[in-house]
């Protein structure tokens, strides 16, 4: 080995401490069918879409069967869900303070022994932190409540959408089959990317914020956790 190689091996690069990635990775893969079973399901779904496309009358959009509006979110029940992709990330990683600055609002959290070291920000509009509740990873997303919807969810016929109240504020419980999500960024641009959401979701108003819990929690567990968030 040459002297230069020895010097390269001896260089001590200042690498920041590695973050704990396990919870975030688990939240993204949990509740998914096995890779090949999903491939088969996808292949069947694609075949169904191809057959449907071959016989379909062109239509601008799927008919909306029912519409719910809640703070910065809208939920539409439609006959057919649009094509969606798996979520590829939670956004840009940052600190809690960084997320507060990015979305321009204080973030509400449940009482925790240790605050999450990291938050994720999507287009400076939606801040997300990863929590653990009832032994499972849960995503808590927060965004500004407005007349215009930041997030739009489309749900199919077999998904339950139940209006309810969390600490006296209106909310919606969305449970069951996968549903899709599109969103508007802080500058008002509409993001066409439609993401497939597989967990259950509780959406509710909290002061100037609309809060959203996503995970495999039951309605009672999500409701209890939401009640602790201040």
């Amino acid at each position: 080995m040459s002297e230069l190689e020895r010097r390269l091996l001896a260089l001590e690069i200042d690498v920041p401490e590695a973050p704990d990635l396990a919870a975030a990775v688990l939240a993204r893969v949990e509740g998914r069918p096995f890779p090949w079973r999903r491939t088969v399901v996808l292949a069947i779904a694609l075949l169904a879409v191809a057959i449907a496309a071959a016989f379909a009358v062109p239509q601008a959009r799927t008919s909306i069967l029912r519409f719910f509006h809640l703070g910065g979110a809208a939920v539409e029940r439609v006959e057919t869900l649009p094509p969606a992709v798996e979520r590829s990330g939670l956004g840009r990683p940052t600190s809690l303070a960084g997320a507060r600055r990015a979305v321009g609002l204080p973030l509400a959290l449940p009482p925790l022994d240790r605050k999450p070291a990291r938050a994720y920000v999507l287009d400076d509009a939606v801040a997300t932190v990863l929590l653990r509740a009832h032994g499972q990873p849960v995503l808590l997303s927060e965004f500004r409540s407005t007349d215009e919807a930041y997030l739009k969810k489309l749900v199919g016929g077999s998904t339950i959408v139940e209006p309810l109240r969390v600490r006296g504020e209106p909310g919606l419980w969305i449970e069951g089959a996968p549903h899709t999500l599109t969103y508007v960024d802080r500058s008002g641009r509409f993001r066409e990317r439609t993401i497939l959401i597989r967990g259950n979701v509780l959406l509710w108003l909290h002061g100037p914020l609309t809060l959203r819990l996503e995970g495999m929690l039951t309605k009672a567990q999500a409701f209890r956790l939401a009640g602790q968030i201040r």
Binding site: S2, L4, E5, R7, L8, L9, L11, E12, I13, D14, V15, P16, A18, P19, D20, L21, A22, A24, V25, L26, R28, V29, E30, R32, P33, F34, P35, W36, R37, T39, E86, S88, G89, R92, P93, T94, R118
Partner: protein, 182 residues
């Protein structure tokens, strides 16, 4: 009976069958080296975290294509390295790495004079700056082989090239470094 920890092939088999807890064990085992790999390739902590996280998610979804009996670590690092280099390409930059100050002298080491320590530090900084001036291909080969101390075989898998290509890239990179430092 005492439960023994599962070995890697068993964990991979379980994860292939959809056991996310088995995958969690693998993530915890390799998240350190995955993050370091992404960091030395991109130089940016936020990009490195995203690349490592996305790498583990993509690897889980690609387990059906993982060849049974192959070593898992280089296969995982290849996916993470790809993610890091894609981010670097889309950001059109590679941020400069920083050196860590050597704070502890080993027992028995002679205590260097302040001047000698300064000269040593300067020469390390010059060497790192010269590495950062290399082309992306040469930089990545040097970073994997020397900064991460991967074997040539692992470097080849992580970078998705043949072992011979790693050897020739390293030889050319060392030549360039000697020229720049002379």
């Amino acid at each position: 009976m005492v439960d023994r920890p599962l070995d890697e092939p068993e964990l991979v088999e379980r994860a292939r069958r959809g056991d996310v807890r088995a995958w969690e064990t693998i993530v915890r085992r390799y998240q350190g080296i995955a993050f370091r790999t992404a960091y030395v390739l991109s130089g940016n902590a936020a990009d490195a975290e995203e690349a490592a996280q996305d790498g583990f998610v993509k690897a889980y979804r690609a387990l059906g294509r993982f060849r049974r009996g192959s070593p898992l670590r280089p296969w995982l690092l290849r996916i993470v390295a790809n993610e890091a280099r894609n981010r670097r390409r889309s950001a059109a930059r590679r941020e400069r790495l920083a050196l860590r100050a050597a704070v502890e002298a080993r027992p028995g080491d002679a205590v260097p004079s302040p001047e000698a320590a300064l000269l040593d530090r300067e020469s390390q900084e010059q060497l790192l700056a010269a590495v950062e001036h290399l082309s992306d291909d040469h930089h990545d080969a040097v970073a994997c082989r020397y900064f991460l101390q991967l074997s040539e075989e692992e470097t080849a898998t992580a970078l998705g090239v043949r072992r011979g290509t790693v050897k020739s890239r390293l030889a050319r990179a060392l030549e360039r470094l000697r020229e720049e430092l002379s």
